[in-house]
Symmetry: D2
Subunit: 348 residues, 4 copies
């Protein structure tokens, strides 16, 4: 009954097996190996487009270094007020990309076109003192467990591009967003105007497999130096390649995410049908925010359920008088039995 | 017959097995897991001292972030002119630690006490324009494949400490230095005055296992934020812990390094006994610099040997008229047969 | 009738005369001159305390470099949401001090103790992801034209110090705050817990005279390098010294500020007595925020008055339906006649 | 008899008078004033070309921020080993421009085309580890008091441009180089391929007047933010404009530099004719490096002459056994009598 986070899970069996197989033999370092070449092909296939893929150590690094590609003096990045880059990266974007963040409030973890337009308008070119717009960043899934529809992404991309700004997507849970959508990977990214993607595999069945993905070569120019200078060029690059190869082949990543999402849906249904709990937000992937009565919370904790309490205000919700807001995250390995036990404990 | 680099090798069987075992089960993220706690104990045992261990993605990150702990405005880091931080890290130390490097020439990849003293003396406290000393960094093994003896380290540490500077050791091949020495890990580090160590496991049998090690808590204060801000805090930290646990347990790391060193010694002996090759520098670990006649070079290449040509000047040697300088690196998996075939090809 | 900004004014006659006198003769560069030594004594006298004074080019540089002295990885600076460092410095604090800003809302441009306490509490030491507190910064005058009383400063300082954070004061209009207060320079700064002060002379009668002032030597350690590395060490330092010497001697600075404040009070009285205008905020120095009817605004503009419209929300005010919010700033040279003409135009 | 440095001198009478005149009246801040517009025209006239002029506080800031315009991750700037940016700016280029410096040795303070070509060749595009070329920087006058001829500049510019790199010129003593040359300002800069110029007025008769000059608008794009973010946008910009207006009008700057150079030539002639001194390098402007016997040195010091001893190695000279190397700098105000007294003291 562990719903603490999808990064508490280990790695999928296929990923583990691929890593084991990669332990053997001599291979060029720094990405010059055939396994990395294969992964690059798998990315191009998954996105049905030219891709330029760069492995980095963490999602935080992926976000900050992707933004650094848009770096400019006095640069301002527009993002949701609860975005991971704004709240959970200890200043990595500011440090690695030399930018400032302009947080934008918005319901359900999303930025609206109007809010984005208004935020950008606060930085007219002549007003040197305020800085200059540099990029727009959205998260998919958002930090509120919701997903942008392709049209929503396109609307933000048009505003960004209209202002000369690239659109970055923090896709640490991109697989879950994709598995929960009828759209393709292409439709959720470059077709909708996404210029750079932080593509996360870690939360969905890898040990440590994160990449920055660009969809055209101009945008990727010089990124190899960006990454190296930040200490993110792995020497035995194969250890990421092996994970990604297993992850992307035969739709394994989508199967893993679909499972996690299905478990989340099962949990959501149980919550909705319960007396002691209700969904605080409608989930689009594997991350649920649940309002629990204090009794239900106590029973769950006592029964061994693991999950985090969550500050309501970061979700744009009022702090409840009559209970607590908690986060429950399912993962590629969550079992139906765990979900059912959780649900059973809600109402005792 | 691949002697290109020790980072072309994969991972040892024990490391692979440990990773596979770590694929299962739920574990707190970000280093709060029992496996990480075990690794911390293994480090303390290996160094017979209090250690504060922080995993990072690469040796470059380890070096730059360790130096960042000594960061100060206008700071200058003293290192050998051929040091990895000076030549092969694309400005990571300058970027992540906010410093400048002062390269010091020296034979066999080493800094001498006199040269260090003279270099530091060029930055008197009153001369604001030149900047201020910040740290001294040495490599063990050096980039020339040599090792500092404990007394040599202590002599440099005394000068550094006398000037109020910490001593950093880039130990990407620390295991090979240790395996090649009669001294203990303690004697090569904190006993000799080393304040911070970049401890590399990647080149010696891991996939990606690098750590910054401090020997007292004051020196480590705030480093968790230093690492996080640079995007080097792994979420599924267990994937590094598992590697290091297998690596450090039962002296596995020393066995791996001893094997690589033994293969290097076998190669060195073969070279010394040959007509078409001679050692350009006396090796202390698993890295050899060899002077080859052009004939020998052609025969080796044609025979399938893989190794890199090396610019003589970076080793403090004159460019040879009568041949080439090449680097041959053995690793934990190099086989005696490979070495012998290489040696056999030298003289045809 | 120019009330656009106090940085539209030139320099006082005494300052001009002092500069002219400093044109002659040979003097050591970089602050080693007798004029600089005299200025240092004048600062110590003005603040009745040991001071460590460093000239820099601008108020932005003073703020960012003062904060840089408290620099730490992942560092967070707490300031008012409308602070100059948050809104008008194009990312200089983030860039030069390597920090992030945590903006705090508050009426009349001020931070309350409760709001500060709550903001700091969001960065517990164990939560690496959020970053770590680094400093608190307040402005005196604030960006809303108000001033903190000594007790208000002390209350914030106690919270800051209790959390191990230094308190920085952006004093670009410190002279106006001081002239408007019954407290002494000491009582408004180090007595109340201020650790570092950006002391501005430019807006109050100098051409370009800004300094970072520390009240103890430990806090100032290494700042000379901080300044040099940012390109803020003037070679002919005398040109700042000459300005500050004239500015600080015989209370000239207080006379200049008292005049500006008196003109602001005269304007405030005229506004209060008018029909077409009212004060949006009660002013404490030389900066007024005025609510004008549209008619009054038109008449003033047509009559040649110069001033800036101001976004109500940055002052914590609602956007008015029935007029506009404007800012009017007096300066050391504002004439009573200008003020009276402005007042006369309000009601036509 | 003060030959310590040209930054020990004050300001010329015309500059002082212009500043005094600028003390009066209201003028838009931040460079929106008519005086700044006039200065921009004067620059365009002086260089017979479109110019984009940005005032900054110091020569160090001008150099570092000009280079920052060429900023790229892992960027390497090629400069002479004795360049001001390499030796005397406490890491400002690394810090503000995010680069590393690659120092190039060369006689008489100059880089040769061959040496530049060889240095750039050490950074092939594929070798991520070494970083990537970013800019070439030369000084005019050099730190050895010499000047590049237009052909010499053009040869370096062609190599730089051929490698896709802009050519920066540190012109802190540009006026002296120009006054000592038969070429025009245009011929020494953009005609010869200079892309960005640090233009110094401070050493030659201003108090503090430094500017970054670009010769086309694309190169200058975004520089206003670069400057602001580093805290180098003066609010009362007129105080720099006034200095530059007086400095550039009627060839005042060239008259000042010509005087300084004439005094240097007079000193050089005296040195050449003496027994106790000889020129260590042939001077091209107002900066002399002189070999003095110990006797001559003692006599000069005792007689009240002020000048700095200089480390021979930074000039590419051997440390003399039979005396000392000293630097003597003349300035816009040096009197012939001072020079003659100095010369007279050499041989007693």
């Amino acid at each position: 009954m562990n719903f603490a986070s999808d990064n508490w899970a280990g790695a999928s069996e296929r990923v583990v097996a691929a890593l084991a197989a990669a332990g053997d033999g001599a291979m060029p370092a720094y990405g010059g190996d055939p396994l990395t070449a294969r992964v690059e092909r798998l990315f191009a296939e998954a996105f049905e487009h030219e891709t330029h893929v760069f492995f980095v150590a963490t999602g935080t690094a992926a976000n900050a270094l992707a933004l650094a590609q848009a770096g400019r003096a006095g640069g301002v990045v527009f993002c949701h007020a609860g975005a991971h880059i704004a709240v959970d990266e200890a200043g990595a974007p500011e440090f690695l990309a030399g930018c400032r963040l302009h947080p934008i409030e918005g319901a359900a973890g999303k930025i609206t076109p109007d809010a984005l337009r208004a935020a950008i308008a606060r930085y007219p070119a002549a007003a040197i003192h305020h800085g200059q717009p540099m990029a727009v960043s959205i998260s998919q899934l958002t930090e509120a467990g919701t997903a942008y529809a392709p049209d929503e992404i396109r609307a933000l991309a048009e505003i960004a591009h209209g202002a000369g700004l690239p659109l970055h997507m923090d896709g640490s849970r991109f697989a879950n967003a994709l598995a929960g959508s009828t759209a393709s990977a292409a439709e959720l990214t470059w077709c909708a105007g996404v210029d750079m993607l932080s593509f996360g595999g870690t939360k969905n069945g890898c040990f440590a497999a994160e990449a920055v993905v660009f969809f055209d070569s101009a945008r990727a120019a010089g990124f190899a130096f960006q990454r190296k200078r930040a200490g993110h060029l792995f020497s035995k690059s194969r250890f990421v390649s092996a994970q990604f190869a297993a992850y992307l082949e035969d739709g394994h990543w989508l199967a893993l995410a679909a499972h996690a999402n299905a478990m989340a849906a099962r949990l959501a249904a149980g919550v909705a049908a319960s007396r002691g709990a209700r969904l605080a937000l409608a989930p689009d992937g594997n991350e649920l925010f649940i309002h629990l009565t204090r009794d239900a919370d106590s029973r769950l904790r006592a029964g061994g359920a693991v999950y985090h309490g969550w500050p309501a205000e970061t979700l744009g919700l009022a702090k409840p008088d009559d209970g607590v807001i908690v986060r429950a995250v399912t993962n590629f390995r969550t079992r139906a039995g765990e979900v059912d036990r959780f649900v059973a404990l809600i109402d005792g």
